[in-house]
């Protein structure tokens, strides 16, 4: 987008012609994003969460796995800001360390699903015909079969660690990315710049990754952001069912698992309220940012 050239009268009386300032797509997107007030607030809150996750080992008051049998299930106090759990571990420390797991899984799983989805979608959309048919049927199957079933099965079979969780979530959530990228490729591959590239004899691989893909990414931004939120929820869910991040490492999901015990649910609410609150807050922030990004990249929308 180009802004109109401005001519201004300077103090010397000489008319200066300012150069036409052109704004890149990225700059425009950022500018439009900052008009979305909720998204900006969400970005600020999420930044705080990210920073505390990174600095978890610094701002923790006790090691997250320090068992203190003298203060078991202690309510929040000056010593333990958010109280302690049944073996006296500090909830504050566990919550901020849990943020690490959530963010790592959220971002890591999304990277994996974006990678697979982009590859499948690009190849499918670019080559079309039977390649497209085959890949899209596979995509349909992965998309329609309830992923929770496959996740539970895989989670029970694979070794229980953060890496497995990453692979499981990422490996099952790529279909929506693939569909979007495919649709983009379908519309781009007939355009002049692609035809020109082909006429010049540029290899397919280069056309796909250098010529088309950078154009196809903009609509993907929002989808990727939303999928970070979904991945965070999925990890928390699996850990809640006891199939995710294994204790003693804290994750919001396995902290919430404690609330399955009616006695803890009733009498030790500080054990499950912090992870519940943080899960909702983080995912809300991510979704608001995604919403802001979607509006920002949508050229039809006037902001």
């Amino acid at each position: 987008m180009t802004e109109t050239a401005l001519s201004t009268q300077s103090t010397t009386g000489i008319v200066e012609l300012k150069t036409v300032k052109s704004e890149s797509v990225t700059q425009r997107t950022i500018r439009r994003f900052f008009r979305h007030r909720l998204a900006v607030i969400a970005l600020a809150v999420l930044s705080v969460i990210v920073v505390s996750a990174i600095l978890a080992s610094v701002i923790e008051r006790y090691p997250y796995d320090l068992v203190d049998l003298r203060s078991r299930a202690a309510p929040p106090s000056a010593e333990h800001w958010l109280g302690t759990d049944r073996v006296g571990r500090d909830i504050w420390s566990r919550t901020i360390h849990g943020a690490r797991v959530s963010l790592v899984v959220g971002i890591g799983a999304t990277l994996i699903s974006t990678l697979i989805g982009t590859l499948v979608g690009a190849v499918s959309g670019y080559y079309g015909r039977w390649v497209d048919m085959t890949l899209m049927r596979v995509t349909d199957i992965v998309m329609t079969f309830p992923s929770i079933v496959i996740m539970l099965t895989l989670a029970a079979l694979l070794p229980r660690n953060v890496f497995s969780i990453l692979l499981i979530i990422g490996g099952l959530s790529w279909p929506s990315v693939a569909r979007l990228i495919r649709a983009q490729f379908l519309s781009y591959k007939e355009q002049e710049f692609v035809l020109a590239a082909r006429a010049l004899g540029i290899p397919d691989r280069r056309i796909i990754f250098v010529h088309i893909l950078p154009n196809a990414f903009a609509p993907l931004v929002a989808l990727i952001t939303f999928s970070v939120g979904t991945a965070i929820l999925t990890e928390a869910g699996l850990s809640f069912l006891g199939l995710g991040v294994p204790p003693p490492a804290p994750s919001w999901g396995n902290m919430l698992e404690a609330a399955r015990n009616l006695d803890i649910l009733k009498n030790v609410p500080w054990m499950w309220i912090p992870p519940a609150f943080m899960t909702i807050l983080t995912v809300l922030c991510v979704n608001f940012i995604g919403d802001g990004l979607r509006d920002a990249v949508d050229p039809r929308l006037v902001l």
């Binding site: 309830p146 029970a156 869910g237 919430l256 609330a259 009616l262 649910l265 995912v283 979704n287 608001f288």
Partner: protein
């Protein structure tokens, strides 16, 4: 239409065969079999005894023979017996399936009945107060997973206010009346419905907004049709169409779409059964459940297409 239906049903046959292959193959790939499950390593059972056990369960046969046997048994309605307690898999699944269908069916129904009209309502009033507050609610509904809403609802309504029982499908101390069953069903189905309400509402709103700005609605207005006529004859029917697909796409959820809600409210449904099967490595049960789930997915797809054919006169099947 009938021809289309027949072709559609015929097409499911190869898919069904493929499904049995996948279900059987996956179980084949999983490490461990019944012998590993029953025998703890400390027992130090002799290899002969292990072999005898494997023979008893037919595990010494070649893969293909076992597959054919398995499919043959299924065709006769025999899904095998659970590893854990020897109950017939078919019976267990039937019992649990009805519990899940009730819970999730009611939740989805609430989702459609509440979500779609609300979506229409705010779609027609974009940027109004109602639009902002309900869109905000749907955002929350989508960001809150069932295991968080479930815990919070249980804490507030069962433990603090004591309005609802804290779990289970019926009272343990007496024969349940219809009222008892409804009382137990209420909280979990409401918790589960939040997500459906939010999803359907968002989708309907979006769909209404798309249609409202389309050419044919502008044409209808230009013709001088009344606002009410334009809304109810032109906008809403067209906007509902894609919503049918979204609702149809959630049909597979009817079976195992409530793992978290069922876990929190100790609901004896398919979700909790699947967890039991997975954690107990109960392979016959897993195979049976996967088969049922795949069937429901297939059925859901066919139903969605058929509903579409019925509600959208533009689609022709010849």
């Amino acid at each position: 239409m009938l021809k289309y239906l027949l072709r559609r049903l015929l097409l499911t046959v190869p898919v069904l065969i493929a499904i049995t292959f996948i279900v059987f193959g996956l179980t084949e790939l999983a490490p461990g079999d019944v012998a590993d499950y029953f025998i703890s390593p400390e027992l130090q059972m002799s290899p002969e005894a292990l072999a005898a056990l494997r023979a008893r369960f037919g595990l010494d046969q070649p893969v293909l023979v076992r597959y054919v046997n398995w499919v043959g048994n299924i065709l006769q309605g025999d899904l095998g017996y659970r590893f854990t307690d020897g109950q017939p898999v078919g019976d267990v699944i039937a019992r649990r399936l009805s519990a899940s269908l009730t819970l999730i069916g009611v939740a989805m129904l609430i989702g459609v009945v509440v979500g779609v009209p609300l979506g229409v309502f705010i779609g027609l009033r974009q940027y109004s107060f109602w639009d902002f507050s309900l869109t905000g609610f749907s955002f929350l509904g989508i960001s809150m997973p069932a295991f968080v809403t479930g815990i919070i609802a249980l804490f507030i309504f069962s433990i603090q206010l004591r309005w609802f029982p804290s779990g289970g499908i019926r009272p343990v101390d007496r024969v349940p009346t219809l009222l008892d069953s409804l009382h137990h069903l209420m909280l979990p189905s409401l918790v589960l419905s939040l997500n459906y309400i939010a999803t359907y509402m968002r989708y309907t709103r979006f769909s209404i907004l798309e249609v409202i700005h389309s050419d044919y609605v502008r044409t209808a207005r230009a013709k001088g049709l009344g606002e009410r006529w334009v809304t109810w004859r032109h906008t809403v029917p067209n906007a509902i169409l894609p919503v049918v697909t979204v609702v149809g796409l959630s049909i597979p959820n009817l079976v195992v779409g409530a793992v978290f809600t069922e876990t929190i409210f100790s609901w004896p449904g398919m979700g909790t059964l699947y967890l039991e099967a997975v954690s107990g490595r109960d392979i016959p049960l897993l195979m049976g459940m996967n088969l049922v789930i795949a069937l429901v997915v297939l059925l859901g797809n066919i139903l969605t297409d058929l509903t579409y054919a019925v509600v959208d006169p533009r689609i022709r099947y010849d």
